[in-house]
Symmetry: C2
Subunit: 206 residues, 2 copies
DNA sequence: ATTAACTCGAACATCTATGTTCGAGTTAAC
DNA sequence: GTTAACTCGAACATAGATGTTCGAGTTAAT
């Protein structure tokens, strides 16, 4: 039989026998490649992903029983990564405006990539599950915005929820600019930071 | 043989014989249904489109030799529609801020739907062709923004090009909100107008 | 009323993607 | 060095989408 006759869904594995080192390496390569490809193209095929990971298609299926399961794993990893980056930017420290600028400057490519994966997840996973996961990084940003609104430094004439939506929309727009080769990552980050801070400023109210 | 043995690509038709009234009606229904479905889901299948148009799949293929040709036609129609709506909002009259508010208020759902189709077109048509078509409504908005920048009422510290990108990104975000049922079209339009006018205002500069 | 245009279900060919099986070959672990 | 875990190409099964053909029935135009 193959690897070990239909293993228990990759990442999960209860207490059982250890996994071999090469398997561990391959799984990591697959997740990395899938994250990269799916963020750029939500339609990337399993074949593409296997090739990009430098692994046979059969090996991919040995570790992830289905595309759905792969995407589930990739999404979870990306969320972990995103949340780590957000925490590292210490969104609770300093003035809201400063914290926000810091957050965008350090995290926008990561958050944008997460947005790309979100699209892939939306197509492969049940809506409710995606929503549940999506709320985590979304909620973190929202908290910061609410803090700014309460402190009077962010505009409060628009719902925080909508401001979060606009932040993500512009994040994504900036990511597209970079991907299309129209701007460097630095230029895009700069535009993004200036655009968003103007958007959130309290004196921008109508 | 079928309709008239592989007709000349639907809309095109040189001088030849007239088209029958029912055929004309079906073509219109197909284009309408395709516009609607593809704007919501760029992956909508030909089968879905035929069903939504209340027409047999074979009839669809009798009028449009391929998915690509259908999308080409739909895109052209949507652009015509968009441009008409934009012109009707008279973007050259009045102050840039007023003209812009008027434009968004009257056109945003149309422009957003055009954005959805753009995604479908991107997958089915050669990139260069999509770019060429996309530049039309894009350019119209850009001209208005440049006019505002030159008049000193829109911020000039960000490139007009980028501002156009942000406008479309927020348009799309607002459309998603409506489609997801989180807001009514009126609410979304209102948020959009206030968000965008704040974004463009000259005194919003860093 | 006649005719040509049109519609459309059924069936087919083709392609691509997912997921599985087999079997032989590697490679990590002890 | 033995063994169990792992890899992977080839081949298969299945499913969905595109596009085509046939043939019989409908409907608009004159």
């Amino acid at each position: 039989m193959g690897p070990s006759t239909r293993r228990e869904a990759a990442e999960g594995r209860a207490g059982g026998p250890r996994r071999r080192a090469d398997a561990e390496r391959n799984i990591a390569a697959i997740v990395a490649a899938a994250t990269d490809l799916l963020a750029r193209d939500p339609d990337a095929s399993m074949t593409d992903i296997a090739r990009a990971a430098g692994v046979g298609r059969v090996t991919l299926y040995a570790h992830f029983p289905s595309r759905e399961e792969l995407i589930r794993t990739v999404l979870a990893a990306a969320i972990g990564h995103s949340m780590g980056a957000v925490e590292a930017a210490a969104p609770e420290e300093g003035s809201p405006a400063e914290a926000f600028a810091r957050l965008i400057r350090t995290c926008w490519p990561i958050l944008d990539r997460f947005g790309g994966l979100h699209e892939a997840a939306r197509r492969a996973l049940p809506a409710e599950e995606v929503r549940r996961h999506h709320d985590l990084p979304m909620g973190r940003v929202e908290r910061l915005i609410v803090r700014g609104q309460e402190a009077g430094s962010f505009r409060a004439d628009l719902p925080a929820e909508w401001l979060v939506t606009t932040v993500y929309a512009l994040l994504h727009a900036a990511g597209d600019e970079v991907q299309a080769g129209r701007r460097t990552a630095e230029e895009a980050g700069d535009l993004l930071e200036r655009t968003l801070s103007a958007l959130l400023r309290a004196d921008a109210s109508s």
